[in-house]
Every structure is written in structure tokens, then in C-alpha cells.
Amino acid sequence: MNPRRSASVFSPEILRPAVGASFAKLDPRVQLGNPVMFIVEVGALLTSIIWIVQAAGGSTGSNDPAWFTLTVAVWLWLTVVFANLAEALAEGRGKAQADTLRSMRTDTVATLRDGTTKPAGELAPGDVVVIEAGEFIPGDGTVIEGIASVDESAITGESAPVIREAGGDRSAVTGGTRVLSDHIVVEITQEPGKTFLDRMIALVEGAERRKTPNEIALGILLAGMTLVFLIVVVSLRPFALFSGTDVSTTTLIALLIALIPTTIGALLSAIGIAGMDRLVRRNVLALSGRAVEASGDVDVLLLDKTGTITLGNREATAFLPMPGVGESELAEAAQLASLADETPEGRSIVVLAKQYGLREHEFAPQSAEFVPFTAQTRMSGVNINGDQLRKGAGDAIIDWIESEGGSAPPELRRELDEISSEGGTPLAVARNNKVLGVIYLRDIIKDGMTERFDQLRQMGIRTVMITGDNRLTAAKIAKESGVDDFLAEATPEAKLALIKQEQSEGRLVAMTGDGTNDAPALAQADVGVAMNTGTQAAREAGNMVDLDSNPTKLIEIVEVGKQLLITRGALTTFSIANDIAKYFAILPAIFAATYAVSGSTSGPLDKLNLMNLGSPNSAIISAIIFNALVIPLLVPIALRGVTYRPIGATALLRRNMLIYGLGGIIAPFIGIKLIDLIIHNLLGA
């Protein structure tokens, strides 16, 4: 599966099954869930019956020609079909993904640690299985022994294998992925049928879709409006009769269907499914629709500094020698001390030293004895040619010098403090008992972050940087990157406390996390995005999983959430605004002859035929056709979503009111007129 594929809305492989599904969905039991479309279906049924009676020569008490009744009936059926099609299309896009996923759910046989075997489908939480290279992992679980490279392309789309190992933050494995090398022992954590893969299939298919609170609220509003229009139309008959005009049932049904918010009623569930789908396309799995909506509301974004705001690693940018030490002497010592240091920081020191004309291979490696970094010493280095070279945190080097009988010069302390205050990280370098100088490691802020934060501010979202650094460093980086606030020396507890604090002030908080110790915070946050590379605990705690494990994804998630709501609001507005034109099409048609002077067929209300539609019948049919056609025409907007622009709420409201409100008033005038031109002038209706 290619998760980033951008299939056209109407691509044949999706369209074909969707058309089938849209007819299957005509089942009234399906329609009952959507009161608006249910009314349309009832209307279609009633007009069909009237036509059958007419066609059979029976009396229906109206003067409508049979072709008129039939046309209305057909277009009402089509309205329902189009609505079903929109939903089926939205579902269809997910189905394609689901099929790929399902094909991976091969029934492997799991080997338990005691040597017995069990079909994957029968594994229970707590079972411990052994997986050899080349085998599929039978279920979700946590690696408890061993390390292995795993191919997770099936779920992430990323072809490069990832490392999974016991302990730490890379211990979660997903059923359906394949071990490439080595072997691991995994403790199963999920019941069969509820695995990550199962949930993913259900999600992309929309099978488990439950209406979100906001969707329910909108549904109530739409149902209410439908009820009002029902009363409007029902009461119109006696009103018209009093005025000497008999309105046929077919016409009243046509008026009702034109008035009730069919457009948004038809597209509402498609919008919801498509919103989920857009997240899936960004390789994010939302575990509930509620979480997607909530992400549109996020007020505060907690971002980890490392990897999100700054490049994952610090870089050496300067050598600052102590008095009496040459810069290149320091550089050489730093280089030697870092030769065996494979961390990105270590490498960056070597690279920087090259600028001083030093090359890596100026010594025989066998004569060197490398001293690795340990958590106790907090320094590393090399013993070479009788010299002991060390680099490490300032305090650690000072301690070491003093234990070697030397003493640190006062300039060292000053230099260390200065670098910290500038937001950098200092590493001291020493040879034997003498401090040579300091290496300036600097956090590198990712390109474009300042703009990103500006954008978020425009969206009304405050960003908070979370870092383990001290306050000085954190403040410096926060200032440089343009983030609004920061939490320094962050512990999981401090993070949780911050979230609770923000929430108590009424804000919605979003965060990303991967480690087990992030789990409480992820669970507490309103939108918790767990990195797929993280632990099983983190993945369980969050309400979204980012398969790419990209912490900046949060920003996109917020946009998708907003887009989802905007699309709903915009199409609701459009749908209701359309009614004005429909009134001006249908009512003058119904009442064209009402209170006409005897001998004339054109009464006072005929003046309201602003669109100058050909005949009463063509006016009503045009309105109904427009009402039906607008659904498929808007499907692309429903599925892609209305573009979100971070221009501030009021400007955005103004913009959308103009496009969807004013546009919704004007567009149908044009559309209905065009349809009328075709069916009246060309087809003679």
C-alpha cells in the first residue's frame, strides 16, 4: 500500500464499487439514521406511487402531467443515490487501504517460548512468543528479549527497516510486520481482533465510525430545520386552497425536498469519513473521530524540543581555548577525544576540527585506547601516546582534573556559564591534568520553524517547548525559534502537571510522545499523538498514532481537524443559503396564476419569477435537479475539505461567509436558470 497516494475522487477503481453501494444503501433502514435523506426517500417513494397511479389511469386529484410526476420522482431517487454515492466514495477510499491491510493479516502460526505452537488468532495477552528472522510478528506486543530489525512498511509505508529492542522506547511491535534479522521474544499485549491492524482496518473502512458530538449537534440542527420545513409545506396547502390555488402533492413534495438541507445532509457523513481519511493519508491514525474534532480546537501545543523544534542533535560550532592554549591545539585534542564517539555530537566535533587542517588518520589507531562514555563519568576520551585526553560536561572534567591533581582555571567556569546562557551546550576538553578549552555545541533550529510558529499563532494556538535543558538554554532556544513558551528541565511529572494546569484554565492541549513515561501525559492531553516507534504503553495512551513518528505532524493534524469543521460549517451555510433561490423558483411557479385577473394566467406573484423560468413545471423540475446535482458537484469539496487559512478567526469567517453564504445565495440562481434553459428551451418541459 502506498499511503501517500493521491487518488482522484472519482477514480474508476473507487467509483465503480461506490455506485453499487449507493444503490444498496437505498434500504430505508440505512436511511433512517439520516433524517434528512430519509425524508427525501419517502418523498421519492410517494411521488413514484403517484406516478404509477397516474400511469395506470387512476385519479390523483391533480392536473400534473404524468411526465412531470415521473421526472420529479426520478430526480428525488437520484438525490438519495447521490447522497449514498458521496458516502460510498468516502468509504471506498478507505476500503482500498483496508483491503491491503487485510491481506497482511495472514494466519501465521506463532511459536510460544515453551516450544508449543498456536494459531495467531488464538493468542491472548500475556502469551510470550519467539519470532525468528523472516517470520511475521503474530500480534501486537512488547519486545522483552533481544533486538531485531523489523520491516514495518506494511503499516507505515516506510521501506527502511526499523530496530526493535527490549527495554527503552523502541520496544513496541505490531502484528503483521516482519522480522528481518535476529530473533526477538515478544509478550503479546492485545486480544486477537483488537490489534492495531484490526483497528486500522476498521478505522479506514469507517466500520466503527460513531457520530462525533459535533456531528450529533449539527444533525440535531438539520433535523430541526427539516421539521420546520415539513410544517411550512404541510401548512402551505390550506393556505393555497384559501387563496384559490390547488397545489399538487408532487409539487409540495418537490418544494419540501428543495427546502430541507439535503446538500449538507447528504455530505455530512462523507465529510467525517474523509476527515479521518485525510489523516490516514498523512500516516496518522486517529483512534476516534472525537479526537480529530478536538484537534481543530487545540489551544496549546506541547512540542518536544529535540527532534521537533531543533534538529535531533547538537552541533559543534566553535573551539574556545583557555589562556595559553592554541586554538588548533584544542581542536586537535577535541578531535582525538572524539574519534571513537559515534554520536552525532562527536561526529560534528571531528568535522569542525577538520577546518583547522586536521585530518582523521594522522595516527595509528592501534596505539590508542578509547575511553567510552558512561553515565557515571559523564565523559569520554582516549589514551594515546601517553596522554589522557578527555572531553565531557564541565563539572565532570573539573572533577577529573582535580582527581588527577590539577586545577581548573577560573576562565573555564566563566566560559561554561556564558555558553549555557547563550543557549548552547559546553563540553570541556582536558589533557592529563590541564584544561585546554571548551567546545561550543549548539542546538540547530529546524528551517522554517519560526514561520510555523507564526502561523500557529495566527491560528490562535500557543506553542510550548518541552525540554530537559536548563532554563537558560531553554529560554535562549525558545527565543531563537519563536516558540511562545517553554518548560525547562521537564520531567514526565512536570509535563503532566503543565497539561492539567492548561486544561484547568479551559484550554485544549495537544502533545506528542513516545516513551512509556509519556503515557500519562498522552492520556491526559486532549489530543495525544503517539509515535509509532514508541512503546506499546504510549500507543495505548494516545488517541492518535503517527506512523511516520514525525513530531511536527501535530501541526498538520490541527489543520485537518479545523478543515473538517470548516467543511461542515461551509456546506451547511451553503445548503441553507440555497433555499432562497429555490423559493424564488418554486413559489412563483406554484402561485403564478393565484389572484390573477379573470382571463389572465399571470397573477401578482408571477412577478417574483426573477429568473424568468420557462414554465411552472420546468421551474420546479429545475430546482429539484439543481438540488440533486449540487451533491455530486460538492463531493470533491466534502472529501478534500475546505482549505484552512490561518488568517485569524474573524477574517476566516468573513471569507467563508462570502464564499459559502453569499455564494450559496447566488449560485443556485445561476444553476437553476441554466437547467431551466436546457429542459424548457431544449427539451420543451
Binding site: 420546520v228 410544517i231 461567509m657
Partner: protein, 583 residues
């Protein structure tokens, strides 16, 4: 025309001027801040609490508050109905009127308890001074006070950051009456008397005129009732012709004052609202939205009435405006008010749920008559009734916030409080109940033989009469196309223009339904908002005090009103407005 526009501009300027004064004062009264009048009336207030046995500081949750509102209204109903039915045995009855029949008494009681003041009777030919003064006028006070109390409770719910209390109904009722309604009504009544509005207990008397014709004069305590009739947006006239009667509304100044009284509290409450929610712009935004719709209504009706009706033209009358004549459609309008002040009064009384009239709505031009119906079609939220206008508008605000919130990509919130399915459910009901009641009642009125009995005219005019009757009663307005049942013309001594049981019951039921359903809805919303956390506003928050939001709010109010009543209006006033034909 220009002179008329100037008068309208002066009136609006006066309104804008009193809004912050009265609004700020009411905010003080209802947030327990000291007001000057307390020094005088404080003992009276405490006496009332003692007499009715309440502890004013005891907060009520929404259910308790609503229960008190309903029970008090039931008590009001029982009391007023009893007074009417016992009229024949009660004092201050110079003409010896008998009790109005049960069906009219029911309709009238429902009408006054619900702040509607729809009148199927002629005041001076049906009701004794006692009934008018001790019965009807008391309801003019307390039904208005109930409206104020409810909206204040709703505001408290919106503001409240913890707990469930919306305040104490009895305290709000008492303070609204004692510190707001009574003092203003007292002063206004005296001003009215000084200009010729009568205030006495004299018996009706015959006067022989200059050329020997005998006139039978009706008197009574009119000014005291007139003042609260306007101030409380009640509208029930002492006389059958309401504020057209010179004894109720004697000159340009009284007319100006009466219109100002009608709008003062509904308009000022927007400012009270802004003050109480801690953001005056919120109040001004609502005021702006209401004002735009109000001014549009005035402009349309004034322009329409400045032209003759098709019937006038057919009679050969040109009705041009020249020096020394008002021109226009002066039929059923008073010379001293002219076209401008009749049109303005028409708009004032129908954007609010007042219903007092200084000219006959039924004789307006087609379009001129469509305006009051359109105003009522917006559920009376353009200023609206005392209290009821603002709480009605807040229902639309919730809908606007919902749609607008979606359009900016946030689940909706209002003043920091999340609007969720429960609030939307209630607000939808709130936008629904009125068209529901009006259309069904009109349908019954127009389609049944019982209903048709009430019609005076046929054709579109007859339809308008019926539609107007149920729009008016269905919005607690009270103004009328008075031909409806009014063809049974009152004569001194008979019981007035009543006697159609069907219309009495249908209208009475409608009035009760549309009064208490929204009260329960808004109190329930207030109750559910009361406990909610307040989210701080940010750039992404939909601002509800911006011009853009005002436009959205107007759009939603107008659209919902238009979409529900457009077809009906077409068949009544609009069809007449579009033709020169006579029917």
C-alpha cells in the same frame, strides 16, 4: 419625506442615548450593586420579601427558577381570570359591565399573563376600571418583570463559572418591578397626563357638542396604565383603538415618549448584558444587529405608507405629499402623527413584542402590512419583548455561534463556554417552536369552518388577518389586523368584539405555548452553561463582538424567519403589495 426621516433619526438618537444609562442602571440593580432608589424603596423591598416569605439571597438552580416562574404565572392567571369573571360584582365599574364570557376571559387572561396583550375585546366597552387597573395593568407590570427576571437569570448562567445558581426569581421579580418598572412608569405617566392623557375615576358622561350632537365620553385611569403598557412592551390599550385614541396618546410628544418607552428596556438590556458578561462590546454587538434590522423595517414601512393604497388610487385619490398635507396612506392613521410617526410606531411595536398601535395595521399598504409580519416572523428578537427579546436573541446567537464556529474551524463556544449537542438541541427547539405554533394555528384558522368565522375580509386580506392574528399571538405581540373578529363592532354596553370561542381558545393556547416553551428552553440552556468551564479567547476563537459576527447573526435571524414565513407572507400582504388590483 425628509421631515419624517429627521424625526426617525431623532428618535433613534434618543434611543441610543438612553441605552447605556438605563442599561447600566439595570446592571447595577441585578448584580446587587447599590442604587440610589434603594434608600427610598429598600424598606418596601424587604417588606415584600417578608410578605411573600422568601429569602432573597437563596440561589435557585434552573429548575427551581423555572418552577417559580411557572407557578407565579399560574397564580397570576388564576387571579386575573377571577377578577374578570367577577367583574360584575367588583367596584369601579361606572358602566356596570357584566363579566366577559369564559372564553374571552380565558383568551384575555392568557394574553396579559404572557405579556401579549392581544385583545379580542374593546377596552372601554368591555372592561371596568377595576379590571383594567387592578387586573390587566398589574399583569403589565409583572409579566414584564418576569421577562426581565428570566433574561437576567440566563445572563447569570452564561457568566457563572461555577455552581448552578441562576439567582433568585422572587428577588429578580421584586427588584425589576420596584427599581425599574414602577419608577419609570410613574414619571412617564405624569408626563403623559400633562400632555392630555387622562387619569381619573369619573363615570362615563354625555356631553352635548357645539351643534347639538351628543357624545358619550369614556374615562378612567388611563395614563398609569398607558405608561406601563408601553414600558413593559405589553400593548393592551385602555381603549379599543389603543394609542390612536387621543386620550391615550394626545400629541407628537406623547407619541415620541410612548415609542421610546416601548424600546427602552429591550434595547437597554443589551447594554445590561454587555456589562454583566464583562464585555460591553458583546452588548453593543447585539444592539447593532437589532438596530440594523429595526432601521430596515422602519425604512420599508415608511416608504410603503408614503404612497396611496390601490384602493385609494382606484377611488381617484392621488394622495400626493404637498405643503399642508401628509399625503400617503392616511387611512386609519391620525393627522397628528402623520405617516412617519405612524410607520415608526408600527415598526417599534412589532419589532418589540409590544403590540400597541397608533394606527390600524389592517389598513396599511400590502408591503407596509408585510413589515410587521416579517418582524414577528423573526421570533420577536429585534429588541423584542422586555427580557424575552434578548433571551430569544441569545437562542439565535447560539445558532450563529454554532455555524460560525464551524466556519472558522472550532467546535463552537460562546463567551468561552462550549456549545455542545445539548445546547444546540435546545436552541434548535427555540428556533422551532414559534413557526410550529404559528403555522399550525394559522392552518387551523384558515382551513376550518370555525376559523373562517373570524374573518372580516376575503381574499388575501382575509388570509393576512388570520396569519397576522396567529403570528401576533404566536409571538406574544398583541397587535392585530383588527378586522379579525373585530367586525362584531363594539357598542357601549355590549361585551365587545368577542364571542368566537374557537378563536379565543386557539389564540389563548398559542400564547401560553409560545411564552413558556422558550422560557423553559433558555433557562435550561442557562442551567447547562452555568457549570461550564470558561475557555480563554485567542486568535482562533470566533469573536462574537465583531461586525462580521453581527452580519452572520442578522443573516441567520433573517434567513430562518424568511424561510419559514416567506410562502405564507406571499399569499397575504405580498400579493397585495405586488398589484394594483382590488379584490
Amino acid at each position: 419625506m425628509l421631515q419624517g426621516w429627521i424625526q426617525i433619526a431623532i428618535f433613534f438618537a434618543a434611543l441610543v442615548a438612553i441605552v447605556p444609562l438605563l442599561g447600566g442602571y439595570m446592571a447595577r440593580v441585578f448584580s446587587g450593586q447599590p442604587v440610589l432608589l434603594e434608600r427610598v424603596l429598600g424598606p418596601v423591598e424587604r417588606l415584600i420579601y417578608a410578605a411573600i416569605r422568601v429569602k432573597p439571597d437563596r440561589g435557585q438552580d434552573w429548575k427551581a427558577y423555572a418552577r417559580s416562574v411557572v407557578l407565579f404565572s399560574i397564580a397570576s392567571f388564576v387571579g386575573l381570570y377571577a377578577i374578570m369573571r367577577l367583574q360584575g360584582s367588583l367596584p369601579w365599574n361606572p358602566e356596570g359591565f357584566k363579566a366577559p364570557p369564559w372564553d374571552l376571559s380565558f383568551n384575555t387572561t392568557a394574553s396579559f399573563v404572557t405579556n401579549t396583550n392581544w385583545q379580542y375585546y374593546g377596552g372601554e366597552t368591555t372592561m371596568s376600571y377595576f379590571t383594567q387597573m387592578v387586573g390587566l395593568a398589574v399583569q403589565n407590570f409583572v409579566s414584564a418583570a418576569v421577562g426581565i427576571a428570566v433574561v437576567i437569570a440566563v445572563i447569570r448562567g452564561i457568566v457563572s463559572r461555577s455552581g448552578t445558581s441562576l439567582g433568585n426569581f422572587w428577588q429578580d421579580l421584586t427588584r425589576a418591578t420596584l427599581y425599574v418598572l414602577l419608577p419609570i412608569a410613574f414619571v412617564a405617566a405624569l408626563v403623559l397626563v400633562s400632555q392630555g392623557v387622562i387619569q381619573n375615576f369619573s363615570s362615563y358622561s354625555d356631553v352635548t357638542g357645539v351643534v347639538g350632537s351628543v357624545q358619550h365620553f369614556a374615562f378612567g385611569p388611563v395614563a398609569s396604565q398607558e405608561a406601563i403598557k408601553e414600558l413593559g412592551t405589553n400593548g393592551g390599550g385602555f381603549f379599543n383603538v389603543n394609542s390612536a385614541m387621543p386620550f391615550e396618546n394626545s400629541n407628537g410628544l406623547t407619541n415620541f415618549l410612548e415609542m421610546l418607552l416601548v424600546l427602552s428596556i429591550p434595547a437597554a438590556l443589551t447594554f445590561t448584558y454587555g456589562r454583566m458578561v464583562g464585555n460591553r462590546r458583546q452588548g453593543w454587538a447585539l444592539f447593532a444587529a437589532m438596530s440594523v434590522m429595526f432601521i430596515a423595517a422602519v425604512a420599508v414601512v415608511y416608504t410603503a405608507e408614503s404612497n396611496p393604497t390601490p384602493a385609494m388610487t382606484a377611488a381617484g385619490v392621488n394622495a400626493q405629499t404637498t405643503d399642508g398635507t401628509t399625503g400617503g396612506n392616511l387611512l386609519d392613521k391620525e393627522q397628528r402623527f402623520g405617516i412617519a410617526n405612524s410607520a415608526l410606531f408600527n415598526a417599534v411595536t412589532t419589532v418589540t413584542s409590544c403590540g400597541a398601535v397608533n394606527s390600524a395595521m389592517e389598513s396599511f399598504t400590502g408591503i407596509g402590512g408585510a413589515v410587521p409580519m416579517a418582524n414577528m416572523g423573526t421570533s420577536e428578537v429585534i429588541f423584542g419583548g422586555v427580557g424575552s427579546g434578548l433571551y430569544g436573541m441569545l437562542l439565535f446567537v447560539i445558532l450563529a455561534v454554532f455555524i460560525g464556529g464551524l466556519m472558522v474551524g472550532r467546535t463552537p463556544e460562546y463567551l468561552g463556554k462550549k456549545i455542545e449537542a445539548r445546547e444546540i438541541k435546545l436552541a434548535t427547539l427555540g428556533a422551532l417552536y414559534m413557526p410550529f405554533a404559528v403555522l399550525i394555528a394559522t392552518g387551523l384558522g384558515i382551513a376550518t369552518e370555525y376559523g373562517k368565522k373570524s374573518l372580516y375580509s376575503g381574499g388575501p386580506q382575509g388570509f393576512s388577518e388570520t396569519l397576522y392574528a396567529y403570528m401576533s399571538q404566536g409571538n406574544n405581540n398583541g397587535s392585530a389586523f383588527a378586522g379579525y373578529t373585530g367586525f362584531i363592532q363594539p357598542e357601549a354596553g355590549n361585551a365587545g368584539s368577542f364571542g368566537i370561542t374557537f378563536a379565543d381558545l386557539l389564540g389563548g393556547g398559542t400564547m401560553i405555548f409560545v411564552r413558556f416553551v422558550p422560557i423553559l428552553i433558555v433557562l435550561a440552556i442557562a442551567g447547562s452553561l452555568a457549570g461550564k468551564k470558561v475557555a480563554p479567547t485567542g486568535l482562533g476563537t470566533l469573536r462574537t463582538d465583531s461586525p462580521t459576527f453581527v452580519v452572520l447573526l442578522i443573516g441567520i435571524v433573517v434567513l430562518i424567519g424568511a424561510l419559514t414565513f416567506f410562502p405564507a407572507l406571499l399569499l397575504g400582504p405580498v400579493v397585495q403589495g405586488l398589484t394594483q388590483e382590488l379584490f
